[in-house]
């Protein structure tokens, strides 16, 4: 009797143990699975963090630039030029223009490098041995243009000495920032030994100082003078394209969505449009570039490298996004609103334009901003329509040659002067990301603010 009891107890004990062991195993599995999920999240967020930290760490140095404070002497011995023509009452406008053009030509022909060199030598210790090519390599090559412009603007400077800030050259900036291994031999250095020594002296005596690099925002791209290369041209080109995208894609996209959602009869034709739009949203962006190259440039002969073509290509790319988002928003409007409008005697068009669209306005707006932000970062299609051409001017109209922010990043990362341009590229990326985050922030703000009210 007791035997059987103990066997049953034994059996039940064993079963409990088996179940406990099984449970432990299963709970371990549970923990592992859960840990894997958490690890995936951490990994994904880690990538985001790593990317941002890496870009910022690389880009921040580019926001400082090295300035040379020089006392520039417009020595009449070097600046040998007649006094600037003065407009007198008797000369005609044409004569005056001719004379002043001739004067400007004379000024341009002067060797302004000598002025730069003299001011650099004046700042250097008295008996410093350095030849003129070496000493000029410290200042940016377009410093002479800046000084000439100063003189053209104010010819009375002749014979005077003025304090001027010019940019140090890219090589000098690299040396100062420590981007270059200082222990390398002369053969591997961009700058000669005396130039490097002089730069260090300049840093010590305050002739060179670092400041915030406003030139990144105020200058256009430059090849001859890398230290003064800036983003302004690309930024304006991007703005032109975004304007075209907003002007074209938003009305057309919203109108198309309204038609498909509110008016279209359910027919094979509208089914076709619908399938089409879904497919267009998934077509690789580079295919839109091919379309632009073949249709807009080769067939319609629109200007190559111009924001108008880029804007049109990006418009076609953005349209499906806006259409799909607007349709989603329209589907979300409650039927009661429609029926109330119709019941009060509004026509279908009045119902849509007076009641349904205003309600969906916040969603459409946010979708639009997100679509534009996507278009802003697009690079590949722009390469195919010639927007990677080097452009050193600000595009004044959408028909001028231009480049765009992401393309500028592409151009800079491919620059041979890599140790100087890698921080620049990262800095440009910071600007691009800042614009994108700003746009997305605006979208989120508008959504939360407007949707609460509606």
């Amino acid at each position: 009797m007791t035997d059987t009891l103990s066997t049953t107890r034994q059996a039940s004990l064993e079963r409990t143990q088996r179940i406990r062991a099984g449970l432990r195993r299963r709970h371990l599995g549970e923990t592992i699975f859960r840990g894997l999920g958490l690890a995936a999240i951490v990994l994904a967020l880690g990538f985001v963090a790593l990317l941002f930290v890496d870009v910022v760490r690389k880009g921040v140095p580019a926001f400082t630039q090295s300035n040379l404070h020089l006392a520039v002497n417009f020595d009449p011995e070097v600046v040998k030029v007649d006094p600037a023509p003065v407009r007198d009452a008797f000369a005609s406008q044409a004569e005056y223009t001719a004379a002043s053009l001739k004067w400007q030509r004379d000024v341009a022909l002067l060797n302004w490098n000598k002025v730069v060199e003299a001011s650099l030598r004046a700042a250097a210790p008295a008996d410093f041995e350095i030849d003129s090519r070496q000493i000029l390599s410290i200042a940016e090559t377009d410093a002479r243009h800046d000084i000439r412009e100063m003189f053209v603007a104010d010819p009375s400077l002749l014979g005077q000495t003025v304090e001027v800030d010019v940019l140090a050259s890219a090589n000098a900036a690299n040396w100062i920032k420590g981007n270059i291994d200082r222990s390398l031999g002369d053969a591997q250095q961009q700058l000669s030994a005396p130039a490097r020594a002089l730069i260090d002296q300049f840093v010590d005596n305050g002739t060179i100082s670092n400041g915030f690099a406003w030139s990144i925002f105020t200058n256009v791209d430059s090849r001859a003078a890398p230290a003064s290369a800036g983003l302004l041209g690309a930024f304006v080109g991007t703005i032109w394209m975004m304007l075209i995208v907003i002007i074209l894609a938003v009305p057309i996209g919203v109108a198309a969505a309204v038609y498909l959602e509110e008016f279209a009869p359910r027919s094979r034709w509208t089914d076709l449009i619908e399938v089409n739009i879904n497919n267009l949203a998934a077509v690789p962006s580079i295919v839109f570039g091919l379309l632009g190259a073949a249709v807009f440039i080769n067939y319609m002969h629109l200007p190559i490298s111009a924001p108008i073509v880029g804007g049109l290509v990006l418009t076609l790319m953005t349209l499906p996004t806006i259409i799909i988002a607007t349709r989603g928003a329209l589907q979300g409007v409650s039927p009661a609103l429609r029926q109330a409008a119709l019941g009060m005697g509004a026509s279908r068009t009045q119902m849509v334009f007076h009641h349904v669209l205003p309600v969906t306005f916040p969603s459409i707006l946010t979708a639009t901003i997100i679509g534009v932000a996507q278009a802003l970062g697009e690079t590949a299609p722009l390469l195919l329509i010639g927007m990677k051409a080097f452009v050193a001017s600000v595009p004044l109209t959408p028909l001028d040659q231009a480049t765009a922010l992401p393309v500028q990043i592409y151009l800079w990362q491919g620059n041979e002067n890599r140790n100087f341009f890698e921080p620049r590229t990262a800095a440009a990326i910071m600007v691009l990301l800042a614009v994108m985050i700003l746009l997305n922030g605006v979208a989120i703000y508008l959504r939360s603010r407007l949707e609460k009210r509606a």
Binding site: R34, Y259, N276, A293, L384
Partner: protein
């Protein structure tokens, strides 16, 4: 200048027409209570539309044909004896010179007397036609305005007419999507067809050597075999999927099933930030950070990994696709009905067992669809591979070596050169067509699977 004048006059006409329609319909309402069918603003719009249509038609016709007419006139200005000596290029140059003279910007160098005369004649011709066309357009618009205004009476259904026009305009907008597709297909097919007149399709689709001779003369164009590019594309895509699928799927499972609400509220948008980062940024990240890191890692464990390789591009592309996979999987997991999940819990299953044995199988078709969409994205991605894959169009299976993809070759063959006369640039369209067909096929299959699965529980 001319465009501004035209736009200004159009605006004036528009305002005038609207105002006249509006005021006339207001005048219909009398004290004895005549009821008009449509409100005054519809009458105004009605007249405005009537006035705009003929004006725009005439201006449009001139915009379309005007250039050709001006050109014919310019050609007729060139004296016959000079005409005889000009070839096509010379003729175009002469036309451009006359046009420059007429516009007043002048030409460099001396121009013979006949050119000056032709320039003057062209100037007056341009002036005359511009004013003529403008006057014609305005007269036609004015006539339409008067006619439409005369039709206004209390019973005119102006609103219905205006709404019909609005409807047509909306239809035209949605046709843009169709036109875009037609444009893509037409440009890809015609240019690819021209490419296949140079290179046999068999050599293109089954060739194993990619070596376009970009400076080549006629007859020596190099070889255009697709297979090395296709293998590179597929290798990078496979690596990207190996990164994106486990991470994306597990992240979606964790976020939708386990994560507390606060974590979810923070982590989900954070992951989605990845989706908004421009691909050029990923490309830079791959090139300057991930590539060198992998190379050093390879040195450490005795593997030779190139800084620019299929591995670098694939890993970074995988990171890019994570939010895509995770948000689609998230949607699909959330669509599995609660009853299935509760049933599993009721039988004593743990949460992970429920997910593995119930949720995932139920959501599998949808997740497969999401993966296919992600694959098609990876295949079409350009900037990451342009920067980080190394561009070595050689057929090989080692992911640690540089490769080239279809998209990279399109960029290489077409940047800066839009003179589509030789296979060197036309091949870009053949590659584009291949890419388009592959991604379209994947998308259609994926959308079909996703949609079919969604209907299953509704």
């Amino acid at each position: 200048m001319n465009a501004l004048i035209v736009a200004g006059l159009l605006l004036v006409l528009l305002g005038l027409a609207y105002q006249s329609g509006w005021s006339r319909s207001r005048g219909l309402v009398t004290a004895d209570g005549v009821k008009i069918h449509s409100r005054p603003q519809y009458h105004g719009s009605f007249v405005a539309i009537w006035a705009m249509v003929p004006t725009l038609v005439i201006l449009g016709l001139w915009a379309w044909f005007g250039g050709g007419i001006t050109r014919d006139y310019t050609v007729s200005l060139i004296p016959t004896d000079i005409m005889m000596s000009l070839d096509q290029v010379g003729l175009n140059a002469a036309i451009a010179r006359i046009g420059a003279l007429a516009s007043g910007y002048g030409v460099t160098g001396e121009s013979p007397a006949w050119e000056q005369a032709a320039g003057d004649a062209l100037r007056s011709f341009q002036m005359l036609t511009f004013v003529g066309v403008l006057v014609l357009a305005l007269v036609a618009g004015g006539a339409a305005l008067v006619y439409a205004r005369s039709r206004i009476d209390a019973r005119l259904r102006a609103r219905n007419a205006v709404e019909r026009v609005i409807n047509l305009a909306l239809l035209a907008c949605s046709a843009v999507a169709i036109l875009t597709t037609v444009g893509i297909v037409a440009s890809l097919v015609t240019e690819a067809f021209r490419f296949f007149t140079f290179i046999h399709p068999f050599d293109f689709f089954f060739g194993t050597v990619w070596n376009p001779n970009n400076a080549g003369s006629a007859g020596n164009w190099g070889s255009y075999g697709l297979l090395p590019l296709l293998s590179g594309t597929l290798m990078i895509t496979a690596i990207a999927m190996l990164v994106a699928v486990p991470v994306g799927l597990m992240a979606a499972i964790y976020l939708s099933q386990y994560a507390p609400a606060q974590l979810r509220a923070v982590a989900k948008p954070m992951i989605e930030i990845l989706a908004g980062i421009p691909t050029i940024v990923f490309g830079f990240f791959a090139l300057v950070t991930v590539g060198p890191f992998l190379r050093d890692l390879g040195n450490l464990i005795g593997l030779s990994i190139n800084a620019t390789s299929a591995l670098t591009a694939g890993i970074v592309m995988g990171i890019m696709i994570i939010p895509f996979v995770s948000s689609l999987s998230d949607d699909i997991l959330n669509q599995v009905p609660r009853t299935l999940r509760d049933g599993a819990y009721g039988l004593g299953a743990t949460q992970s067992e429920t997910i593995r044995n119930v949720l995932l199988p139920a959501a599998l078709p949808g997740i497969v669809g999401a993966f296919l969409l992600a694959v098609s994205r990876a295949i079409g991605e350009t900037m990451i591979v342009v920067l980080a894959a190394g561009n070595a169009p050689v057929l090989r299976g080692n992911p640690f070596e540089p490769v080239a993809t279809i998209t990279v070759s399109i960029v290489n063959q077409l940047t800066g050169d839009t003179d589509f006369t030789g296979p060197q640039s036309l091949v870009g369209f053949a590659l584009g067509l291949t890419l388009f067909v592959i991604t379209l096929g994947l998308n259609i299959v994926a959308l079909y699977i996703v949609r079919r699965f969604r209907e299953q529980y509704e």
